[in-house]
Symmetry: C2
Subunit: 208 residues, 2 copies
DNA sequence: ATTTGATTGGAACGTATGTTTCAAACAACT
DNA sequence: AGTTGTTTGAAACATACGTTCCAATCAAAT
């Protein structure tokens, strides 16, 4: 049913790349099916509609991510001593970077999708994601609060969103930025090093 | 020719709002012309094509902005004593917030447009903007370097992009976020106060 | 070997889009 | 008043889209 080269997975693979590259509305089902080398009708057969396909693409990503999030946050939660701010941010960022171990450039594709979902004001995607993964934010907030108890919750709320912006924006364009940096500074920066820089920046902002 | 209520301006007004609210592909010319109360054909008559209309919308916004940027950065550049990091960031953020003085909800509309333009990987918009406003980044870098001379240029490059991500994302979703914050914390946060929080966060990250 | 249910293929449907056409209305100037 | 160039209006155009239909094919179980 869910082999690596089943029609369903071929559609998901093609759709995920095209959605990230071109956007949801700008990607037609015909582009997807011709890239996946399957019949046009198979999208509606397997997924029901284009909207359902979009949600399925996100669903697959989040299934990869949630195991990573769960194990990292469980580890933080069972610790007696409060974590450092850097560690909490790393718990959020780590699983996202791990996608690259499974797929090439998986992180940037996912972040681009996330950025596009965020821009969607039609909003069915935002609601869908918040519904499924809102619990993550409250777990994150709890840990930040342990790491930095004097920060008012209202400040935390805003800084969380400042942080998300940096993460999505940077990781979505990471390929392009890495190339520019390499050309300008003759210094190769891999994604792991980039994440370190990002965590430093964000942790300082959180602790401001 | 360019009266406030000329057909051309009515189209631009309607298009700018709808593009920000719904996105470029999701906004049809018929929506624009019916909201602007003009004939459908007038878009192609005055602008040539939908793509050209999109660029015209951005052009008008950037004309407002560039005068603000120029005056603020000239002021920084002529100062003998180095500016503070916060001041440099404020010079970038200030003109954007000033749009609210001209239009209601102008900032969030513009930032949403910016966010969408960034998401557009078709890319003709990104190139168009970088071409027109790339010079701003080097002026910004120079001033940050004056404020914080020991920061290596390569670090500055990355932190600049971390910062842009926060700015675009936060301001693009500022309406929605302000509503959530108001509901959750019973505390009204106007855009000016939000900008202050954002500058604090970003300056701390810059100085990390 | 036959039957049954799931999947695929090819074609068509209805609808919405950006663009074009061309006549009517308007404006400015002689 | 008449002419000329610009702008509007209503309709049609070609195209691309998501979706649906139904026959052909396939896989597995009897």
């Amino acid at each position: 049913m869910n082999n690596k080269n089943s029609t369903k997975d071929k559609i998901l693979d093609a759709a995920e790349t095209l959605f990230a590259e071109r956007g949801f509305a700008e990607t037609s089902l015909r582009m997807i099916t011709s890239r996946a080398d399957v019949n046009l009708a198979s999208v509606n057969y397997h997924f029901g509609s284009k909207k359902a396909l979009i949600q399925a693409v996100f669903d697959r990503f989040f299934q990869h991510l949630s195991t990573g999030f769960n194990s990292r946050f469980e580890q933080l939660e069972k610790q007696e001593i409060p974590p450092k701010v850097e560690e909490v941010i790393a718990a959020l960022l780590g699983p996202i970077l791990d996608i690259d171990n499974v797929r090439t450039h998986g992180t940037s594709i996912f972040m681009r999708l996330l950025g596009r979902a965020y821009a969607e004001t039609q909003g069915h995607l935002r609601r869908f994601m918040l519904e499924k993964y809102g619990y993550l934010l409250s777990r994150f907030n709890k840990q930040i609060h342990r790491a930095y108890p004097t920060l008012p919750m209202e400040q935390l709320f805003w800084r969380l969103h400042f942080m998300l912006g940096s993460m999505v924006f940077t990781l979505a364009g990471s390929q392009a930025l890495q190339e520019i940096a390499e050309a300008d500074f003759k210094e190769v920066v891999d994604t792991k090093a980039l994440a370190g820089k990002l965590i430093n920046f964000l942790a300082a902002g959180m602790k401001a």
